[in-house]
Amino acid sequence: MTDDIFCLFGSDFQYKAAAWNYRNMDSMIDYMNENHGDKYFFKYSTPSEYIDIIKKKDIKWPTKYDDMFPYSSGDTDWWTGYFTSRANAKGYVRRASSNLHSSAITYAQKVLDQSAKDEEIASIM
């Protein structure tokens, strides 16, 4: 859609010896800029920097209708186990999520309460 290419580096466990990764990336960036600098410019970037540049170009994006889930790493090798794995742990996360939501609302109501004392608000914050 534009001339900007976002190139991702790394994956799980790829930065255990991070200095080596950066040395390799430095070399690749230097090589490309020296030898193909007439066409391309390579640099370290971030997702927000990339999105800012794309946004300035005011592109009309196509709508994507399909779904990336479930993952698979082969024809019959679906990563579906993790939707149901450790059901108690998943239940616990949901319980904690409810706990966070209902307590946060209660704290907000207290902070908005004009009759609340300063020390009550301090103990929440």
Binding site: T80, S85, A89, A96, N99, L100, S103
Partner: protein, 322 residues
């Protein structure tokens, strides 16, 4: 809480794909965060109850969940049912929907008189309350009764209601009736503009079939839906004798198993219809290599929500055979 919940969003945390020791640590994080948070939250609930109802509890408030819980998690578990006492329950509704009914977990032997605080009359007044129970199956083959009371009481959005449970009322429990196979299609539960008819089971597929009639559509033609429980065998082998595999592998379906196994056969379908609450309970038994595993049962509860136009399907799933 925000830190702990943030950490739990990692792609090997809530997904359940970390190694066991790491998964344990995630739960420790959550548990510590909730313990700290609840000290503050409980105090504010006590404040709210005092301000709103003029009621100061003579003990600290203790928490208990409305769903996914039994009375053993609730303060009522520590009370002797042979003595006379009453207990106030403050119900916090943090959602943005007004609720007309609530549910509390109670022991089977408990017979409570339930009253609800009316803010206009400033007094506790009688209300509709019904207890229903089902069997929970333990791994050693024992059964325990798991009971809940469904209570008619308004709890407005982001507000609190107060009810009082008084021990020593007349014994009353909604009676369950087992539905004989030839009576499927005539049995239904209804409420809140919805009617759910149990249509029986597809034996080869172990699939339960239902018809739903929705008053809101004005149509006399039902929507059909089916429900079944399935599982895959997972890839559990160790990388070597010492190292435990990460959950990413332990919870990976076996390569080549294209279709999931059905959980088991339907052992019993029962219906309970009280004056206030109605429910279908479907008990699945588990078979393994043609042999029935007596200790493994799962119960599927079908009911209609009192507040939202929803059909609720709660599953009490016992462990899968290894």
């Amino acid at each position: 809480m925000l830190d702990a919940m943030g950490v739990l969003q990692h792609h090997d945390a809530v997904s359940g794909t970390a190694k066991q020791a790491v998964a344990n640590d995630y739960n420790r994080l959550l548990s510590n965060a909730m313990a700290k948070n609840n000290a503050q939250y409980d105090k504010l609930i006590a404040d709210k109850v005092r301000n709103q109802f003029g009621y100061a509890a003579n003990e600290d408030w203790k928490q208990c969940l409305k769903t996914n819980s039994t009375y053993l998690d609730c303060p009522v578990a520590s009370k002797s049912l042979n003595e006379s006492w009453s207990m106030n329950v403050a119900v916090h509704n943090p959602s943005t929907v007004d609720l007309k009914s609530l549910k509390v977990a109670v022991p089977e032997e408990a017979n409570f008189d339930v009253t609800v605080f009316n803010s206009t009359s400033q007094a506790f007044e009688p209300t509709m309350a019904e207890k229903s129970c089902y069997d929970d199956h333990l791994e050693n083959g024992e059964k325990i009764k798991n009971c809940h009371m469904e209570i008619k009481a308004d709890t407005n959005a982001q507000a609190i209601s107060l009810i009082k449970l008084t021990n020593g009322a007349k014994k009353e429990e909604i009676q369950k009736r087992v539905i004989p196979e030839n009576e499927a299609e005539t049995q239904f539960i209804e409420g809140n503009g919805l009617k759910v008819v149990y249509k029986g089971m597809d034996k080869t597929e172990s699939t339960l079939k239902f018809d739903v009639y929705d008053e809101a559509t004005g149509s006399s033609k039902p929507e059909e839906f089916e429900f079944s429980m399935r599982y895959y065998e997972s890839y559990t082998h160790m990388m070597n004798n010492k190292m435990m595999n990460s959950g990413a592998y332990a919870f990976h379906p076996m390569e080549g198993q294209l279709h999931p196994y059905p959980y088991g056969d339907v052992k019993e379908v029962s219906i309970s219809k009280g004056k206030y609450s109605q429910q279908l309970d479907i008990t699945f038994g588990k078979h393994l290599y043609g042999e029935e595993l007596e200790s493994m049962k799962s119960v599927v509860h079908v009911s209609i929500d009192k507040d939202l136009p929803l059909i609720k399907i709660d599953v009490d799933l016992d462990s899968l055979p290894l």
